[in-house]
Symmetry: C2
């Protein structure tokens, strides 16, 4: 059960294929751009532990200093870069990594402590505000960087200080008397510790992750940990950050009750996704309570997907706490009640979906993983790889145009996207090998063009797919496998193609389990080359009626489309009063390929904006919105009569 | 320009007419019931300034002690009772008023200070928390009680201590150096002071009201008054009540900027309505800046009615701050994003509408006043007059059934309803007399059955109307006026009848100005008896598309209807998935009259809940919902296909 950050090396994308182009932009431009920005803003040198003028800035979100995330920004950049260095060389990037690693090493205190803010700005306050101050979150991202660094450079220069830091954290926090019985406000270190354990095999690393997960939301001596921590800091009970609408809004960080007691996904979306990803990742190693935690995972996943997810995979309706609202409350934009759909949250959904697939190979997870990837994740970076979005509303409004930004004060999203694209192929396919049984299995979750190579007892198996998926749905597959290795494939049939897909030659019987087409050795031996066809007629999606969104959204294959003013220049009101009157729609798509013009879908139909009939609407894929000069007017769900 | 609390004595309702029945319930039951509860809860004796055990209760809404409103509860009860005593006798009520008045007198401090909480519980804290602690709000309601008491008992027993208290307040707060440059968090005293001025003619009373209005939201030395006040109390900048979602959420009490700069109605709905009512009431007396304040009133009224008001006149979508949301955000219930529509807020809309009519006789105000009265105000009391609602959602949900309650900890709404019904006729008609010119004018805003009597130079004019309005729309009017007094009438033509009303005999020309049918002396002399007919075919109302409410609401005349489970017992989901499929609706009404069964409208049509076709739906007027045993499932806006 390798994690995708490890297994991604088994699969390479076909050169110039759709996803390869996206990934290549990061390698060619984004990493260097982010490095440059890192230097310009002070992040790069921050581990030198010198005072930076911005440390005096009043915080945008009290009590969180604007620079509080710098450790994680650096960690995420290192981690992202390491994934790309697996298949390329770049001395600028490599030198930067080495310099950063040495800076991080030099920033570590004697006792192992390692944090920029608490070393330079608030040296007396380590471990006094786990609720709000991202101390363990930062540690988590540095650990993940260390794991990735270790993987590509095969040395311990970064792993060593992080292992030492973890030892300090494990001494400070835990169930024993005298320890802090706490956990981080922002989960992340849990994921990191599980990944660290996979490298170190040190059971303490796993135990600490498990402690954080299981202690979370517990009440000790009648008191919530964060309430006790705030009291110890001398905070008034009604003193709280803006993101806590009420005192003790502990649902914000999913600590309102233990995970096992939670029935609905609540609060800050990224925190929720990171927490559940950790719970799912821990599943591999735990035996006790496994079923209860699995039940909780499924319960919370189902709640999210059925009742709290936008049509394009975005999650989080409420800007104030960057997170979930009540069931079915999914307005499209700020002026309609809210829409946040943070980039990192969509990435978090992919992370969780991937871990859930390891527990249960079920297309209900990979359908959503794919939806997020092609819509609410890829939408977050401009085609030149140098501009980003943090919030991804489904409709623009006055004051909130659909636009990319060069950077953010809280710059969590851009490096998260870089690292996601870094190990992207880990999401697309997973493999299982049993050397003893001489068997190999490949699960194809997202059937893009690529090659997966496995070695079973020194013999090579290759699954080669040619396709311009997601632009069209024809996937030509060739399996090269020695006859004596029993090889099986499971290929996801997307829910949107479940009624019209074809495969040639046709397996007999045609076996589909939980949304995956199962191809046994008998079929693959006789048909090592086969073609899967996933027809992509345009279709309209309607949200659940309880959302009070009386809209239709154009989709084709895994892609969700939107309208932009660039193509529909008559728009003045963000397409708010546009109404599709149904019945007479014809949709044609201009073409296929990687270029901008060809990525546009074009819809011709009869529609009535403000009573005036417009003959033609042109839609573009949602991920592509914002890439051309325009007024930033955009909408995904179009009203209907 | 008498206020309705004064002018109401000019008009009496026809015995057993629709509104007379509602009003009579208060006289017969509600006042005594509220008196009894007042005694049971401790409110009645609170002005004895003894400790009450409930003073130690932790506040439901910190920092507001639960008993903080007791002064106003007592004041509102006295005020309400006084209006009814104008046309009736009841020794229990009268004795209670006298006893309360003596208690209030005895509670006054030497310097004039008069407040329960700040005398008994927090004697060191007067005037230190105008933002949150309702000190001036309580004073306002006591002043209003004193004015009503003076009017009916013709003595100064209650007026005297209140005048003394106002003198103290005017010394403490004002523009001079050494004074507090502040204003109340909850407006009310402004209205009260203007009413007091009408009795005392003391210009200081008017000046204080004007100061509160004009100082509100100003910044002095770069600081907001409430920010400075909080700092002086030693509050942390992020310490704030639950109803401030963010620090300094001053829009909550409409102090985010001066009134003249406000473009949209924001925050706590009752506060907004009381504030604007005071601004409109002050208009009569001011010359300077009159137009600017009128412009602000119209701007804020229009914003509220066009973009922030429910189809039944309810206002306030957000429970957390009991108030307004963004434009067009009007979900019907808690599980759809929120709906509050507090009783007091609807009463406040009526108060504001009434004052706006004095500035501009325009049916845009009286249409809304009527909508509120027959729907969002009358809905607040059960038919037995002993149960009430505080929140009036347009759709019930699990955990939030549509039900009456016997009382509330914060009991602002029930006595507000009592006093509204007390001087109700003041809302229905207004009069203008010019003794010098020998002219009389009566404006009929809501054409219910009643008699208005005026005296012009010792001669009597009577306008007599017979009708069972609002149950049907035929209104027979008879004017008794001496020939030598030039008498005119203006009768509002409701917007829903503007295209199909008739009047017989027909005036020539038929003159309608701003929604009011103008009847000149020439017509009235020849036709002192005439019949106005306002046909009431059932109609369906659709909310503005920007609300994302794809619903229809049945209405008939001024009444808005809803579905209840009592009549539609198959319902399981609060009518959430019920869909009207249009085209084939037939609506019939069972009958007319005052009784329960006859008040029900019955709709027969073809509808499809959950795909299953139901032949018949029975609607009841919204104001009537909750009066029968049921499960509390109710909905106003019904989804459509």
């Amino acid at each position: 059960m390798a994690q995708p950050q490890v297994s991604y090396v088994d699969t390479t994308l076909k050169k110039n294929s759709f996803l390869d182009c996206k990934r290549h932009i990061v390698w060619e431009h984004t990493l260097l751009y982010q490095l440059e920005l890192s230097k310009k803003t002070g992040r790069y040198d921050a581990f030198r532990l010198q005072w930076h003028p911005s440390y005096s800035d009043p915080p945008d979100h009290w009590p969180v200093p604007n620079h509080l995330f710098w450790d994680s920004d650096v960690g995420k950049w290192i981690e992202a870069a390491c994934y790309f260095l697996h298949d390329g060389k770049n001395s600028v990037i490599e030198n930067a990594i080495h310099e950063l690693v040495e800076m991080i090493r030099s920033a570590q205190k004697e006792d192992g402590y390692l944090n920029i803010h608490f070393s330079v700005v608030a040296p007396k306050e380590p471990f006094t505000n786990l609720e709000h101050l991202h101390e363990l979150y930062n540690a988590g991202h540095l650990i993940e960087a260390a794991v990735a660094h270790h993987q590509v450079f095969k040395n311990d220069r970064l792993l060593e200080p992080l292992v030492k830091y973890v030892k300090l954290i494990a001494a400070k926090i835990g169930p024993e008397p005298g320890q802090i019985h706490g956990y981080p406000g922002h989960p992340e270190i849990e994921i990191a510790l599980i990944r660290l354990y996979q490298v170190t095999k040190n059971p303490e690393h796993l135990a600490l992750a498990q402690y954080f997960i299981e202690e979370r939301g517990a009440t000790r001596d009648g008191e919530h940990f964060f309430a006790a921590e705030a009291k110890a800091r001398g905070w008034h009970p009604f003193q709280r950050p803006s993101y806590y609408p009420r005192p003790q809004s502990f649902w914000y960080n999913q600590t309102h009750k233990p995970i096992l007691e939670q029935d609905s996904v609540e609060g800050h979306s990224v925190r929720a996704m990171y927490l559940l990803t950790a719970v799912a990742a821990l599943d591999t190693y735990r035996v006790d309570q496994r079923q209860e935690y699995r039940d909780a995972l499924v319960r919370l996943w189902d709640n999210m997907v059925a009742k709290k997810m936008y049509v394009n995979g975005g999650v989080g309706a409420i800007a104030d706490w960057e997170g979930f609202s009540i069931d079915y409350f999914l307005p499209q934009g700020t002026d309609e009640g809210g829409c946040y759909a943070e980039t990192c949250a969509a990435i978090g959904v992919m992370m969780l979906a991937e871990r859930m697939l390891q527990i249960d190979l079920n297309s209900k997870y990979s359908d959503i993983m794919e939806l997020c990837l092609f819509n609410s994740v890829l939408c977050c970076m401009s085609t030149d790889g140098k501009r980003f979005t943090y919030v991804n509303q489904l409709a623009s409004s006055e004051g909130k145009p659909a636009r990319f930004e060069p950077w953010f004060t809280c710059a969590c999203c851009p490096p998260s996207l870089s690292r996601t694209l870094g190990f992207l192929t880990g999401y697309l396919r997973t493999t299982n090998i049993d050397h003893d049984a001489n068997t190999a299995h490949i699960s194809v979750h997202i059937p893009t063009a690529g090659t997966t190579t496995l070695n079973v007892n020194s013999k090579t198996i290759t699954l080669d797919t040619e396709s311009d998926y997601p632009l069209s749905g024809t996937i030509d597959c060739t399996l090269h496998a020695p006859n004596d290795i029993s090889t099986t494939l499971a290929i996801r049939i997307p829910s949107w193609a479940s009624s019209n897909f074809t495969i040639s030659p046709l397996p007999s019987p045609l076996r589909i389990e939980k949304g995956y087409l199962r191809l046994p050795p008998s079929y693959l031996l006789s048909s090592p080359t086969f073609t899967l066809s996933l027809p992509m007629p345009p279709r309209f999606l309607a949200p659940h009626p309880a959302t009070n969104q009386h809209t239709l959204t154009l989709a084709r294959g895994p892609m969700v489309y939107c309208l932009e003013d660039v193509d529909n220049p008559w728009v003045r009101d963000h397409f708010k009063t546009l109404r599709l009157d149904g019945g007479q729609m014809r949709v044609k798509f201009a073409g296929q390929g990687g270029s901008v013009a060809q990525e546009q879908g074009e819809e011709e139909g009869v529609v009535a904006p403000n009573g005036e009939r417009v003959g033609e609407l042109t839609f573009v894929p949602f991920y592509f919105r914002g890439n051309r000069e325009g007024r930033g007017q955009m909408r995904v769900g179009i009203g209907r009569v």
